[in-house]
């Protein structure tokens, strides 16, 4: 296929679209690219009183401090672990939920369930963590249930055990986002040609066979694109949940890169260290997204770029 030359005439014809695009490009420059200038802080011993130009240049000293700090290494591990756990669980649950919902025949029931399921998405984390705190407290519903059922003899403090923290965070993410994430898949499913299903029915395919051979392959491109995008987001494992649910006891598994950035950058006024941690995070995110995209390309799937 020969690439089309872009002519003035063409641009004039698409005036409206071009203007819209330009707006977003400007937006992107202002809010995504100009702030990158701040990265210089990572190479300085930045003091906001001295500004960008007055602060002492220290090269890679901040990065050296970062990678010799065992806390930072632990924080990377936590971020990756929770990121992957969240990705896998929310991703899997959303697809499962979309397919199950698609199989519901009763239209009203389907609409109702869908609406209810995506409502939690609109709750802010402070509310979700509040609910979790109450539900999991020693006199909360979970402990009460487990004790009444005879599974536990006394209440356990779920937030005091490191082993529970990641699952709690993953569960919170699943609860909050499953319904919302399923919307995209539901939309993808509706765009599958109904004649395929009809043909399969005539061939004697059951529900299971139809899901396996039509629905899943039908939404595969959507799944791949979303997977690639989400992999880039793995390091955004969260800030609010861990910040609000964490405590001194589970700190070693709860702190993420974002929290580290906050405590050192904002809390201790060491913007340089905070920025260095932020740069590291961005670099890893870029590597991940490129790798995922390459992988998709190799296996002949749809990809981002």
């Amino acid at each position: 296929m020969k690439a089309k030359r872009i002519s003035w005439k063409e641009i004039k014809r698409q005036k409206f679209l071009v203007i819209c695009t330009v707006c977003f490009v400007i937006y992107g420059i202002i809010f995504y690219y100009i702030p990158l200038g701040g990265w210089i802080m990572a190479f300085q011993n930045y003091k906001s009183r001295d500004g960008f130009f007055g602060s002492e240049f220290v090269g890679l000293a901040k990065f050296k401090f970062l990678f010799s700090d065992s806390t930072f290494l632990r924080v990377i591990r936590n971020t990756l672990a929770m990121g992957v756990l969240n990705l896998v669980s929310t991703f899997f649950m959303a697809i499962l939920f979309a397919i199950l919902l698609n199989e519901v025949r009763l239209a009203i029931g389907k609409k109702f369930v869908q609406t209810v399921s995506y409502l939690p998405h609109f709750l802010s984390w402070i509310i979700v963590t509040g609910i979790l705190h109450d539900a999991l407290s020693s006199s909360g519903i979970v402990n009460e249930l487990l004790i009444k059922c005879g599974i536990l003899s006394g209440p356990i403090n779920f937030f005091a055990h490191k082993g529970y923290f990641w699952p709690i965070v993953a569960f919170a993410n699943v609860w909050k986002e499953t319904g919302w994430n399923a919307i995209v898949y539901l939309a993808a499913i509706t765009s599958i040609d109904p004649s395929l299903y009809e043909a399969a029915t005539i061939d004697g395919a059951g529900r299971w066979a139809k899901i396996k051979n039509i629905t899943l392959p039908g939404i595969k491109p959507t799944i791949m694109i979303l997977l690639i995008m989400n992999i880039g987001n793995v390091l955004n494992a969260g800030f609010e949940v861990q910040y609000l649910l964490g405590n001194g006891l589970v700190k070693s598994v709860a702190d993420t890169i974002d929290i580290y950035t906050l405590t050192w950058g904002v809390g201790q006024n060491d913007y340089s260290l905070g920025t260095a941690a932020g740069i590291f995070k961005s670099v890893v995110a870029i590597i991940l997204i490129v790798a995922a995209n390459q992988f998709a390309k190799k296996s002949g799937e749809s990809r981002l770029f």
Binding site: S137, N157, A160, G248, L249, G265
Partner: protein
């Protein structure tokens, strides 16, 4: 068609009216009364915008303050975000973040205002020598601490310090025993709890809890210094026994190990709240408010102001839920210094005026006027004949009804306004009769005590809370309190980095040590994690400061 046009015009007119009305409101309020903003890096309750006493004060001295308090974050993070936003309130009390504000150069130096003679009340707060101690490295004074500062005669009735507290009903049940050691303390608590598994209202009894959140983890952390008989230097022990004052780390003393071993034993026996390590300050206060917690280690100001009001409101004070302080030591028969007599000058934080304040002269005048006796009475006593009465000798007193009202949070928000982080006095009023604050008025204090407390005071022959502690009465050392130095440390120095990391290690390991099934092993792990962050760097800097303070 016509109709819709009319609607549109009408809507526009309404909108215009609203805009003007809003603008008008603002103008009306800020006419000749200046509105100041203030951020306080502590949690607190905001008062209503139309608070009555705030309005009276505003009319008298031409200013009012909109206070904003810490919510959710730590003090350092809150101050950090204010610095990052570069948008400062007129007044600020940054707590631990004070040094960050100073380093940022956004505080107005007080020197010329203090020297000008125009603000005598403010100047009067401290002696010249005390003001000197607020001077920073650049030779200027930027803030004044507002607490623990007595005018005239000291009237202390409360133990405004740390102690192991115990509910008065427990003491009554046990026949008012003498309790001097940790062992005796936990023995009484657990025996009482065994016999009273729930409170009168059916809440499960919690023999002992501790708060471990953020900077308030002193509730678990610094007891070893007191158990060894040392005063509240906060972050270290100062040992004078060898002649030259020497810094000692209380985290690693044999007493510390014994104390945590005791907590561990009690936790394993089910006598310590299983949520202690994960509760937030709000949850902790809520727990205490039920009256179900028999004892804890805490500072009076960290719980009593809220809890005593709640107990009064709920009638729990009549059930003996109020707390009595105990001056415990690790062994029987040791001296203790839980109670600090006289003023404690914590020069590491206080109220400051920022460079964003457009009229610092007016701001300092406002601070000065808040110390005026009439205004001070309004702040802490309230409105005469409404919140307190005056007898023929000029003595202020309150009826039981007034006391209950003053303890009601709704009334506090709508009517009372004490600007609690602004300059204030303890001790005796300028009239020579009354106390500066009602809590220190002896007659008020005794009349305000619930019956179980009165019986307890009689049983132990105590007139005030410090009598229960029986601390050694002595002059504070010239370096006291050392925490005013460690609080102001930043991560600029190796000692400051060590101090921050020591805090992180302790936040994680102290609860672990208490909850561990194998105390010895966990203690060893804790010690190696602790030593790995170079506490010696911190101790060295503390020793330098101690030497400096001892020499001056």
């Amino acid at each position: 068609m016509k109709n819709s046009k009319l609607q549109r015009v009408l809507a526009f007119v309404l909108l215009a009216v609203m805009v003007f009305a809003l603008a008008g409101c603002n103008k009306g309020k800020s006419g000749d009364i200046k509105e100041y903003t203030m951020f306080i890096a502590m949690p607190g309750s905001e008062i209503n915008d139309d608070n009555e006493v705030a309005q009276i004060i505003a009319e008298k001295i031409g200013g009012r303050v909109k206070e904003t308090w810490l919510t959710g974050q730590s003090a350092a993070e809150a101050v950090g975000s204010i610095i990052a936003s570069n948008d400062y309130p007129d007044f600020i009390d940054g707590g631990d973040g004070m040094m960050a504000l100073y380093n940022e150069g956004v505080l107005v130096p007080w020197d010329e205002y203090l020297e000008s003679g125009k603000y005598p009340n403010l100047k009067e707060m401290y002696s010249d020598k005390e003001w000197e101690s607020f001077r920073q490295a650049d030779g200027h004074i930027y803030w004044a601490n507002v607490f623990q500062n007595n005018y005239g005669e000291n009237r202390a009735t409360t133990h405004n310090d740390e102690a192991f507290w115990i509910q008065v009903k427990v003491l009554e049940w046990a026949g008012y025993p003498e309790i001097h050691t940790l062992d005796q303390y936990f023995d009484v608590l657990t025996r009482y709890a065994a016999e009273h598994p729930t409170t009168e209202s059916g809440v499960a009894t919690i023999p002992y809890t501790m708060l471990c959140e953020d900077w308030r983890y002193f509730c678990i952390e610094n007891a070893p210094e007191f158990l060894d008989g040392y005063p509240n230097d906060g972050s270290v022990i100062v040992d004078k026994s060898s002649g030259t004052p020497t810094i000692v780390d209380y985290n690693t003393t044999p007493t510390a190990k014994k104390y945590f071993a005791k907590l561990n034993e009690q936790y394993q026996a089910g006598n310590i709240d299983i949520e202690f390590a994960t509760q937030t300050y709000d949850q902790y206060i809520a727990k205490l408010s039920t009256g179900a917690v028999l004892g804890m280690c805490d500072q009076w100001w960290n719980f009593a102001y809220t809890i005593n009001d709640v107990f009064k409101q709920q009638g729990l004070d009549k059930q003996g839920c109020n707390y009595i302080p105990l001056g415990l030591t690790i062994e029987e028969g040791m001296e203790n210094r839980w109670h600090t007599y006289g003023d404690t000058l914590n020069n590491s934080s206080g109220v400051a005026v920022t460079t964003d304040c457009d009229d610092p002269d007016a701001a300092f005048k406002f601070l000065n006027d808040l110390l005026d006796q009439e205004i001070h009475d309004l702040r802490f006593w309230g409105v005469k004949d409404v919140d307190y009465l005056v007898d023929e000798n000029g003595l202020y007193y309150r009826t039981e009804e007034m006391r209950t009202k003053a303890a009601d949070p709704a009334y506090q928000a709508s009517h009372l306004c004490n600007y609690s982080y602004m300059p204030q006095w303890l001790g005796t009023s300028r009239d020579g009769i009354n106390a500066m604050q009602p809590t220190e008025q002896a007659s008020e204090f005794l009349n305000g005590l619930a019956e179980p407390l009165v019986k307890c005071f009689q049983a132990y022959g105590a007139d005030s809370y410090p009598d229960f502690i029986g601390s050694v009465v002595e002059e504070n050392a010239p370096w006291f309190p050392m925490y005013s130095f460690s609080n102001a440390m930043t991560t600029e120095t190796p000692g400051g980095v060590a101090w921050t990391k020591m805090g992180e290690v302790k936040h994680e390991w102290l609860p672990k040590v208490v909850m561990s099934k194998n105390f010895e092993e966990t203690w060893e792990q804790y010690m190696s994690a602790y030593n790995a962050v170079n506490p010696q760097d911190f101790l060295n800097e503390m020793q330098q400061e101690l030497d400096r303070r001892a020499a001056s």
